[in-house]
């Protein structure tokens, strides 16, 4: 891992922990963005942690960009020594794979896709060496995921699967971004899954849809009454495949204010995970099943 610092115009500094995605890079970027927050540097207006990088927005009228850069570099050693343990939660997210709404969108933007003759799921299954779409879907939901970034648009989570590197699923983004994506689409790009929190543009492949809203500016959804955004970096997610009947049932429950997401508190230790992934995941799933 080699850290790279660069300016984004005269108001941002972008710090890339690593070109590659890894949980080590994520933990370092999260720790460093926490250290920057704690340092309370005058002139800093926003701190945005991402998958393997983070960004600081600052006011160059208050602090010279070169001084800001120097201060950030001074904080790097603190991030290196930070504890790689998170007290967090695991959440079950229902997913209706191969739903009619994302399918319609998949077909509408075929000319922007690498393989216009098939669907996004057929393409993803094939390039990852699976015999069938079903087997690929199974690989997508069988092991839990880690929210490594929240952003793009309103509260959208980027998720990284908690499996060995050789088991990671990888797909390219669309050749050119779509101008439309259904709200709550479960997408995939690079090694990341995501949930599109709102309808809009997007470049990720589309696999399915969740009935569970994750962003509500009016805060009418019962579990979003405290804050309009559901996810934060460090959350752990387990996809739960559902059919159309279950999808409709949850949509109705959300509307009635009776839907309660399945959530359990857990701790995640990066060293424990790296030592024994199946054991670490089993512990997470045990907590979820007890919820």
């Amino acid at each position: 891992m080699k850290t790279r610092y660069t300016f984004g115009g005269d108001e941002h500094i972008y710090v890339e922990m690593d070109e590659e995605m890894s949980l080590d890079a994520f933990f370092k970027s999260l720790s460093m963005s926490t250290e920057v927050r704690k340092a309370n540097i005058s002139g800093v207006t926003e701190i945005c942690p991402a998958n393997a990088s983070f960004q600081v927005k600052f006011n160059p009228d208050v602090i010279h960009p070169d001084d800001m850069m120097k201060k950030l570099k001074e904080l790097e050693h603190l991030a290196e020594n930070a504890e790689k343990r998170l007290e967090t939660r695991i959440v079950e997210i229902p997913v209706y794979y191969q739903d009619p709404w994302t399918h319609e969108t998949v077909m509408r933007f075929r000319e922007r896709h690498q393989d216009p003759s098939g669907t996004d799921l057929e393409y993803a299954a094939s390039i990852n060496g699976f015999d069938s779409v079903e087997a690929f879907i199974e690989a997508h939901h069988s092991q839990p995921w880690f929210v490594s970034m929240v952003g793009f648009v309103s509260g959208l989570p980027f998720l990284y699967q908690l499996v060995e590197k050789e088991k990671q699923l990888q797909v390219p983004k669309y050749l050119s971004p779509r101008t439309d994506t259904p709200k709550l689409t479960v997408g995939y790009g690079g090694c990341f899954s995501c949930i599109y929190s709102v309808r809009g543009a997007g470049g990720y492949q589309m696999f399915g849809i969740t009935p569970m809203p994750i962003f509500d500016p009016e805060q009418k959804v019962s579990y979003l009454s405290d804050f309009m955004v559901f996810f934060k970096p460090g959350d752990i997610v387990k996809w739960n495949p559902i059919d159309r009947a279950e999808y409709d049932r949850i949509v109705n429950e959300v509307a009635a204010g009776t839907y309660v997401p399945k959530i359990a508190n857990v701790s995640f230790d990066l060293n424990e995970f790296n030592e024994d992934i199946p054991k670490s995941n089993a512990k997470l799933m045990e907590a979820l099943h007890g919820a």
Binding site: D10, E11, E19, A50, K165, K173, G190, C191
Partner: protein, 323 residues
Amino acid sequence: MALKILNSGLSTSIQDLGRPGYFHIGIPIGGAMDRLALQSANMLVGNDAGAAGLEAVFMGPEIEFTQDASIAVTGADIPIKLDGELREAWKSFNVKAGQKLSFDFLKTGARIYIAISGGIDTPIALGSRSTYTIGALGGFEGRNLAAGDEVPIGNGRLVPEGRTVPEALRRMPESSAELRVLPGLYWHRITEQSGKNFFDDEWKVAPEADRMGYRFRGGRPLDFVDRNQPFGAGSDPSNIVDGCYSYGSIQVPGGTEPIILHRDAVSGGGYFTLGAIISADMDFVGQLQPHTSVRFRRVDMKEALSARKERKDILTKITEALA
């Protein structure tokens, strides 16, 4: 006091100076695309420079006032009419209850700003009244204005008519533009020749130009430096492991069409960025019409900061002129 929207034009929204502090969860700063124009309009009518006003794109709205007020229109060049009679831009004038404000066809620029004494008084969402339509947040019910809307106005008092921003202090959009770029971010991903071409070529604003981003066409495609794509980035050479985007940053998906992220930027994503428009030129981007010719000019941090200071000095002079 309210504004009755008789016709909303093409896209008219409530904007102030935005909501900093939520980019880390994907909610952008938003606010007026041309900040100096909104600030000028507000000061002309005696408001705080950051009060909420209207931002209208390409076409003016038609508005009826329910009470007397002072108003000012700034930004793009467009004939302004009060009950059919022409009024001057960048100058305060009074309206009486029942009078109607309307506009003719836009001449140059893209966005006009309308400030009303007292400012727009819709509910504040996450610290701002700015409309963020993608998140259905702020503004009028989280959306652009529509005919029939009645927009609440705060308590203000009339100011003398004819208060004006000196012409030398009005930053007016031109028919062709030069945008200054500070290379950085993932600049190292493109070849030296492509980096040169990017600044040599003439680009044109594409029809896909909105509050989120401005797309450009017409320059040569960019070539990337060969590499094995890093794990997690995706296979296209323009892909990166999804990271944060800077306001003003320029991404070039597939190396073909540059996109400048603007006030309603997505906060991150998986396309490389080659640098960013300097903060002083962001207002100009918001005034570009589709098909406008644009050249990008390479600058260093020193020039970016001196341009920023120039822009700040203009704001100070306008503030003094209208004190």
